[in-house]
């Protein structure tokens, strides 16, 4: 009951095109992530789905109905804002109950639903506190609770985790994922963090300058990026890009190979290089090297490694994992 479709959606501010003919569908019950660098339009797109921004041309369909000109209050969607946007003058209970109050639900129904949402999110103890008395993570949960209680057709998340510290972010990622498993409601999630995208999404929509660069499952994007932009954006550390004879040899203008898909040798290999810097994390090692005639390369090794700055090494890409791109940056093969 929560399918969303964007049909040739465009948005222009003044003369500037901010969203350029975006066209795709989100299936009911899926977890879709919009990802891309700052300014790519992902938040704008989300807000257009929510009804908080106008659509210049095109249509937004929710469950097959054209909602393009319908206000946000009537779309049946719930949004979790980056700043949580909690009502500061109301208690947690008041915050969660507000939407139900606006829908004129009877008091006992409201009470019951609030209790249920609070229970799911471990907020029962805090129901009478005001937002300013809560920690960041707790506020985050209240924002989610406010959304859950409305039983919306879909949840919209606008970079909800960016204001949390790293450890909390990981924890909340898991919780949101579990929430999705439990409620099975469509979720549309915006983030600039491709790790969040890769770990949480069923499908990822990669956006670049207001247009869709590629849509696919996380592994699809990882294994078959359709161009240089997606190839560089997905995957951490960033994919190594090599131009010149090595690329030409393989029939491409640019070669791409991920740091985890290369062989490292101290004796022989395709690309001789010198180690600039090594990061030893214990579970893995990152080697930053400079290859002659090629430029910087990043290599990822499992476990511990003994390479140090200044060492001479040879890097060879694994052919099965080499990506080839033509002169326009598009994928070959």
């Amino acid at each position: 009951m929560g399918s969303i479709e964007l049909v040739n959606v465009c948005k222009a501010f003044g003369g500037v095109k901010v969203i350029n003919s975006v066209d795709f569908a989100i299936t009911d019950g899926s977890f879709t992530v919009f990802v891309g660098p700052s300014g790519c339009g992902k938040s704008t797109l989300l807000r257009m789905i929510a009804g908080l921004e106008d659509v210049t041309s095109g249509q937004v369909l929710i469950d097959g109905l054209d909602m393009t000109n319908i206000g946000p209050a009537k779309r049946g969607l719930a949004m979790v804002f980056q700043s949580y946007a909690l009502y500061p003058h109301m208690s947690v209970r008041g915050n969660i109950a507000f939407a139900l109050k606006m829908a004129r639900q009877p008091a006992n129904v409201i009470e019951q639903k609030v209790k249920k949402a609070a229970g799911i999110l471990n907020l029962t103890e805090y129901l009478d506190r005001k937002p300013r008395e809560l920690s960041g993570g707790q506020r985050q949960r209240v924002a989610i609770g406010r959304a859950i209680v409305r039983e919306p057709k879909a949840f919209l998340f606008d970079e909800p985790l960016s204001n949390l510290d790293a450890a909390l972010r990981v924890q909340m990622r898991v919780e949101i994922d579990e929430l999705h498993q439990k409620l099975k409601t469509t979720m549309v999630y915006v983030t600039h963090d491709q790790v969040e995208a890769m770990t949480m999404a069923d499908r990822i929509v990669v956006l670049d300058k207001g247009a869709v660069a590629q849509i696919g499952s996380p592994l699809e994007l990882y294994n078959k990026p359709n161009g240089l932009f997606v190839a560089s954006f997905i995957g951490s550390p960033t994919m190594n890009l090599v131009m010149g004879p090595s690329a030409a040899k393989r029939g491409a203008t640019t070669l791409g190979v991920r740091p985890e898909h290369v062989e490292l040798s101290t004796t022989a290999g395709e690309w001789p290089a010198q180690v600039l810097h090594a990061e030893h994390l214990g579970s893995e090692t990152f080697i930053y090297a400079r290859a002659e005639g090629i430029g910087p390369l990043t290599i990822r090794l499992s476990g511990e490694a003994t390479h140090h700055a200044g060492d001479r090494i040879f890097v060879t890409p694994r052919e099965a994992h080499v990506h080839r791109f033509d002169k326009d940056g598009k994928r070959i093969g």
């Binding site: 908080l52 209050a73 719930a78 804002f81 700043s83 946007a85 909690l86 009502y87 409305r150």
Partner: protein, 276 residues
């Protein structure tokens, strides 16, 4: 210069500050003291400062002979009434400017502020004639309406500055929660902006209470507020200083108290934000 000052200098500055402040405040203090004198004591030469028979007779007389309370009532009705109506018009206007601005919004705001700069005499004649023909002269409704119009620019301006401090995404969250515009303003905007609204009202109530052009020219008896009542002491009969003092003390006391709380708003409102 809050650096090391010699103790002597500090004492000197403190004394000077207190003397200056006292001198500025003195006329008010003197009025207060005089209100407790008999009329004869009030005109005694040399003046009696503290040692005289303190009496409440003036306060009694100001009510029994001149019905002070009726004028006070008019002042209250006018000041509060005009500004409540003003508030009902200004809140939506300020919402519009803060959260749905257009290219014209800044111009409209500036134009509104400029109406406050129009001298009253510029429209005295038509307003007077209009009121006369509509039987609005000496009516609380008529005068209240004018007072409201006088304060609209300040109300809208100050509410606008307070509303701008409210994060728009909280209002958007309310919309996502299904709130209509009216609900958004009642349940979310107003409670969040309550301190700003209260302090703005404080300032405009004070301004209306003290307004002494339209209240003097449009009111004669029924709707006359305290400004006009005090003005009647300009053509008094007999000795009147003590009574004037009592009436004055009563008339200004509430405002002095309110004024104390509205200092910040004064700076913000009357300088139209040009001074922070």
């Amino acid at each position: 210069m809050a650096m090391k000052q010699s103790a002597g200098k500090r004492v000197g500055v403190t004394v000077l500050a207190w003397v200056v402040a006292f001198l500025i405040f003195f006329p008010i203090l003197w009025t207060f003291i005089t209100s407790f004198k008999s009329e004869l004591d009030a005109i005694a030469m040399p003046p009696k400062f503290l040692f005289f028979n303190w009496t409440l007779e003036n306060y009694v007389e100001v009510q029994s002979r001149s019905n002070y309370l009726r004028f006070a009532e008019n002042s209250i009705i006018l000041s509060i009434g005009a500004n409540i109506v003003g508030l009902l018009i200004s809140v939506p206007a300020a919402w519009s400017m803060a959260f749905a601005p257009t290219k014209r919004t800044k111009d409209v705001l500036m134009w509104m502020l400029s109406t406050k700069m129009m001298p009253a005499v510029g429209v005295l004649v038509p307003i007077y004639l209009l009121f006369r023909d509509l039987h609005l002269l000496d009516s609380l409704w008529g005068i209240g309406f004018v007072l409201m119009l006088l304060n609209l620019p300040i109300l809208i301006w100050m509410l606008y500055t307070y509303f701008k401090e409210i994060p728009v995404d909280i209002l958007e969250a309310a919309r996502m929660d299904g709130a209509s515009l009216l609900n958004e303003i009642i349940y979310i905007l107003t409670p969040m902006a309550a301190p700003g609204i209260a302090s703005t009202m404080l300032l405009t109530v004070i301004l209306s209470w003290n307004e002494a052009f339209w209240t003097l020219n449009l009111a004669t008896s029924n709707a006359a507020p305290l400004t006009a009542f005090i003005a009647s002491y300009s053509a008094p009969e007999g000795f009147f200083w003590a009574k004037l003092s009592a009436a004055s003390t009563l008339a200004i006391a509430p405002i002095l108290v309110l004024g104390w709380f509205s200092q910040k708003q004064l700076v913000r409102g009357l300088t139209f934000g040009a001074v922070k």
